[in-house]
Amino acid sequence: MEYRDFVEQVKEQIQDFLPEKFADAAVEVNQIVKNNDCVLDGLMVRTEESNIAPTIYLNPYFEQIQDGAELDDVLAQIASVYQSHYIDHDIDVSAVTDFDKIKEKIVCKLINEEANQQFLQDKPYSKLEDLAVVYQILMDKTGEGTATITITDNLMDGYGITLEELHDQALQNMDTLQPHSFKGMNETVAEMIAVDIAREQNVGMDEAKEMAMQMMPDIPDTMFVLTNDTKVYGAAAILNDDIRQEIAEKVGDFYMLPSSIHETLIIPKDAGMEFKELEQMVQEVNQTQVAPGERLSDHVYEYDAKEHELFRSDRAEERAKQKEEKRDNRHERVSVKEKLAEKKDAVIKMNAGKEHSAPEKKKEAVI
């Protein structure tokens, strides 16, 4: 089946997989600019009873068809995801437009700035190296993913706050709304395999994990996965300096590999790997294994725990130079200040021998 046929089939048949009340709903498929300016097909099923409709992107579901899944099973899955995020009544629009009402639901999403020129056109965003941080309202989350509304310039205008305030609020919410997960790559992969084993062989998770560990490929224990509890847009966890410090306490200064917009990989710097080799690896994995819409960056980053700074490894030398220059400038400034202070003292001493005529004025004149 071709992708376009799949989209048409979903549009025509999705109502058969939804409850009766959706029989009169309006079904649309709209093309929407998503991450890395990829245009995806968003399915919307609008009903009379609700003014908020979930948009489900169809592209990832087509992969299942390509892997041999039956169309009916995929349609049932889409319908199930749709219903789990469906709200059966109108919501107060101020729940989105009033900052006081949404501030505790704001989260961040980390993406590539250059690859998202079109997407970023109408959105407020902050910059970290060549990455961009955009902000979303987390409407709800289930075991199957999250439902979000991206904050646009229009919404931001109504909030009447600064970008810094928005960013700080999103970081503050991170622990509560999207608690981070930092685990070894071995453990992460074993857990993923265990879920399949538990389902296919009908065994408990503990037993499934043990079986998974025996099947595990040989992955060194020097690589860790940093993401959030839903594994959706989990790369943003690296924005939180408390999390970075916590990781540094465990592994020391580290490299951060932008595995995807959903997670970053952490490799301790003392593992002995060169950043050039790591960068080449990131580029190869991005090209061959990461869907274009999920790529975060082709660069490697590193964290300096002492300075609390995350920066691109290929700019490390430049950064070191800039820091040295700043130090020199500061030193020069201190020297000039010291000289001025000496002159000031000399003038005060000279004046002390004279009559006290307008000393304050003279003092100012010297300075």
Partner: protein, 44 residues
């Protein structure tokens, strides 16, 4: 009343596993290389 849209975001386990496996295999090679280089250095 104004119509609102919320996006449903999901991740693909299959895609995640694919990239983890390639990272795992490559880092494994790099670690071996790094260990061999260290051993060679010690011998010298």
């Amino acid at each position: 009343m104004k119509q609102l849209e919320k996006e449903i975001n999901v991740t693909s386990q299959r895609n995640m596993m694919k990239r983890y496996q390639m990272y795992g295999a490559t880092v494994s090679k790099l670690t071996d290389k790094s260990q061999n280089d260290t051993k060679k250095g010690e011998k010298k």
